[in-house]
Amino acid sequence: MSARLMQGNEAVAEGALLAGVRFFGGYPITPSTEIAEGMAKLLPQVGGTFIQMEDEIASMGVVLGASLAGKKVLTASSGPGISLKQELIGYAAATEIPVVIVNVQRVGPSTGQPTAPSQGDVMQARWGTHGDHSIIVLSPWSVREAFDLAVRSVNYAERFRTPVILLMDEIVGHLRESVELPAESEIEIYPRRAPKKSRAEGYEPYAPDEDLVPNIANFGEGYHIHVTGLIHDETGFPSGSPKVTRESIKRMHEKISRAADEIIDVQEEFMDDAEFAVVAFGGTSRTAYEAVLSARKRGVKVGFVRLVTIFPFADKIISELAKKIRGLLVAELNYGQIVGEVERAAKGQCAVKLCAKYDMTIFEPEEIEAAIDEMISEVDGE
């Protein structure tokens, strides 16, 4: 395939389509709108459905309905819209409906700075909806990776029957790069899970398979299943039992934590001799990488750690790193969010410093490089 110049947002639409998404429901919001626009154009070309809903709550509802009816689904939004989606993201987690939600982050809270980049929704991506629940969050740093992670998000949503958040930022969403996209035959696609028993054999929609994920039938296949956001047992019907409640919440977490090693994707560069490292994700990691390269040229033994999977968090990897090195610098476009996770995982085994920015502008490599130097002198002085 020949190289094409495209935006991160467009790449998401292309990736989702190739992964089998055939239904999109959304509501326009900067800086995510191009994803909806892309889907509006592409979906009917493959017989799929695009619908613009009255708000983001309805956008979540419509895609969850379509997912239950058997389609692979996508929705996309930003800040205020993602806040509205939270109610039904929780519903998707509780009822185990596959869905991918793209969040192209902008400055918040509230209407914030609509066109300016930010990474202020990291913890919302993890804990935005109420109650204990599990979720997968992935974050790309390039246009090509936006495509790849769109595919991976759809696959994870289907495989784990969970909401997956593709956490973009304005930097990558609006970044234009020349990319070569793979053909459908080159990518692996996880199909919709199917029941392994008939009704007569005692099929129960929420009975977990070996990987703890239930094989829930699509609507219209004759299984007469019941889906509810109330805590339910394996039959799918509400249960008031403490045991069922405990087991259902536990399984929801464990179906993902069990596969964490496989889901967690962390890129490490220059770590062999590194005494320090910069941790970053999404658009910020582009600048962080440049800063590391530049510091390396000056002989600074600094490495680069990029979180491709943000949640489940790379606890083990960070903990192992923290044993080997003296300091981690977390660069993020917010007041300090993922730094808390890094600190928790590092367990005091090395210094953890924050390089935060929340003024509408993206990092300059020099800013991060200066922060690296500062961290080193602080740690050396300690």
Partner: protein, 275 residues
């Protein structure tokens, strides 16, 4: 006895239902399955029941189809997704007055506007039943609710007028007293291609009747009998006669308009995606 054929549409192991003694919800739920039974080609395998949250929305759990108990107010978006994802499915929405016209009000009017092929049945008990009797947008003026202890001053919606103005292509009302009429109104709603809306008045003796001293379930139903006037008779009444508690029931509006699902099929053709 001869086994009632509609009983097969209920999940027998889930009955008796959780509704209070004399609650009208059970009557409407039966009317729905009896209407479905009359529809040629509608089976338990290709008919989907979608509900929101509330006493009324618990109906989905008792009905032996693929059923979806969604979140408060959100049934119509979910139902829209199901219908558009698989237009071969028949989709029925069960909702309450609060569910449909308060928290779900925006989804409701937009559902009507799009004319997706859904049938929405609103169980109107004039109150928030599930949460214990707070005022809803359909609580009549002056009636008491836990959040309107001195009587409601909020002007109520006429959900049928709202549905018609918003673009629904079938609009009707009936009551839990008028069971056969109600069943017919639902059946015609199922027949309509497009967004059909049926308001079914139901008695809630627990959260509404008792507080408003309307009393026993049977008395609340007698009130329906005495005050509901068939549309044809209602239209002949002069305005000074349309007073007190009197209200019209019957078919209010019906139109033939392209449904959203049909219109979207043209989009697919234009885009070259038709098989």
């Amino acid at each position: 006895m001869t086994e009632r054929s509609y009983e097969k549409f209920f999940r027998q192991n889930r009955l008796p239902h959780l509704w209070c003694p004399g609650c009208g919800n059970g009557i409407v739920m039966k009317a729905i399955v009896q209407a479905v039974e009359k529809k040629l080609g509608w089976t338990q395998d290709n008919t989907i029941i979608v509900s929101g949250i509330g006493c009324s929305s618990r109906a989905s759990g008792y009905m032996d189809f693929d059923t979806l108990h969604t979140a408060h107010g959100r049934a119509i978006p979910f139902a829209t997704g199901i219908k558009l994802a698989n237009p071969k499915l028949n989709v029925i929405v069960i909702t309450g007055d609060g569910d449909c016209t308060a928290i779900g009000g925006n989804h409701f009017i937009h559902g009507c506007r799009r004319n997706v092929d859904l049938t929405v049945i609103l169980f109107n008990n004039n109150i928030y039943g599930m949460t214990g009797g707070q005022a809803s947008p359909m609580t009549p003026l002056g009636k008491k609710a836990t959040t309107a202890p001195y009587g409601s001053i909020d002007r109520p919606f006429d959900a049928c007028k709202l549905a018609e103005a918003a673009g629904a292509t079938y609009v009707a009302r009936s009551t839990a007293f008028h069971v056969q009429h109600l069943t017919k109104m639902i059946e015609d709603g199922l027949d309509n291609r497009g967004f059909s809306f049926i308001e079914a008045l139901v008695q809630c003796p627990t959260a509404y009747g008792r507080r408003n001293k309307i009393g026993e379930p049977a008395k609340m139903m007698a009130w329906m009998r005495d005050n509901a006037i068939m549309k044809s008779a209602w239209d002949k009444l002069t305005d000074d006669k349309k007073t007190g508690d009197k209200f019209p029931i019957g078919l209010f509006y019906r139109a033939e308009t392209e449904t959203y699902d049909e219109a979207y099929h043209h989009v697919i053709e234009l885009a070259g995606g038709a098989k």
